[in-house]
Symmetry: C2
Subunit: 192 residues, 2 copies
DNA sequence: TCATTACTTGACTGCACAGTCAAGAACCGT
DNA sequence: ACGGTTCTTGACTGTGCAGTCAAGTAATGA
């Protein structure tokens, strides 16, 4: 089922492997990780049999591109947040950015939704994002800015929910989507 | 395209029409309005051709059952809310009940999501629910209990969002779903 | 340059569903 | 009990995707 990996690929095979990877990056970035492999093959200019032969199917292909698709995006947000001092601002900025990222990048969204729970790299990105959120939550709660009864699990669910929504938002405006984030964040604060 | 309607149906036709209606009620209630007509036909014990012949396809069938599927459920909630005095309680109870209804009844959810914008009866139910919400919102805002910047459109979107989520919640517990409703409602209140 | 092996192709199966229609079955009034 | 009409059937077409594989093609190294 998984990809063959002789030390040296034949020249045409290497060319195709790279072309497929590039096509997958383009296509998955815009339309998400569930896009048909036929589409990827068309964009890469190969037949889909080649994708199956080289990558062993969708899981293998995703494993081969997911780091490029997701790694930087989440890292940027974390870096961004690290520059803030106030725990509440850190918490809210992080969530807001992740939620917007889910809207802007279907592929990242699919990862955060755990669309492919079998994929190690995907799962790793998802956990990283989730655990960072939980750290920010703890700090914000310690500072008394966020509801005490909010749990790490809740947070994961809130991210999951946004993902499901972002996915369905196809033709909805980003502004409208973002507007609602404010309401949700407001609901997580402590106090009345 | 639409259903034939001679004054008197033949006996077998009447029997089948009723059987199909009953099957559609059962099946749609549990699995939503997008369930395949093949499934409805199987449950009704007829061939799907009969459904097309009698109801003219999914839209016609839905029009024939949507009132029974939805009418009472929303009416009950409205009646329930009418018995409350406090504007905030009315507002929050209503939203919470509608949101739970969306979880419990896929068919109602599909209606509130405007899955079939062509269907008059469906659209009517949807608007009724939405307009009642807007009235409660206005009252609660007048009493100063709910954020001033919340609009009727926001409210519709919030219901839509829950619908999308409820739909994806297949194997998630109702408790977990309900727990999050509390956070959202909290975010709609005025004050800090 | 040629045999060997790696690689690619596209046609194939399989699945699930929408929607259609000619042929046959069931009903109803006389 | 039969003719005319209504109704039902199920096989058919069409769509779109997953995944497979025998046969053909192209790189490689001796």
């Amino acid at each position: 089922m998984s990809a063959p990996s002789p030390q040296r690929l034949r020249a045409d095979a290497r060319r195709n492997r790279d072309g497929i990877r590039r096509a997958a990056l383009d296509v998955f970035r815009v339309r998400g990780l569930a896009t048909s492999l036929e589409e990827v093959a068309r964009v890469a200019g190969v037949s889909k049999g080649t994708i199956y032969h080289r990558f062993g199917g969708r899981p293998g292909l995703i494993d081969a591109v997911v780091d490029d698709l997701v790694g930087d995006r989440i890292a940027e947000i974390i870096a961004d947040v690290e520059s803030l001092a106030d725990p509440l601002a850190r918490f809210e900025t992080y969530l807001r950015q992740i939620w917007l990222l889910q809207f802007d990048e279907p592929a990242v969204n699919d990862v955060l939704l755990q669309l492919m729970p079998e994929s190690r790299p995907s799962t790793a990105h998802c956990e990283q994002a989730s655990q960072f959120a939980q750290r920010l939550l703890a700090d914000a709660q310690a500072a008394g800015s966020v509801r005490d009864d909010l749990t790490g699990e809740d947070l994961y669910q809130l991210i999951w929910e946004r993902g499901i929504i972002a996915r369905a938002c196809d033709q909805q405006s980003r502004d409208s989507y973002e507007r609602r984030l404010g309401f949700v964040l407001h609901g997580l604060r402590s106090g009345v």
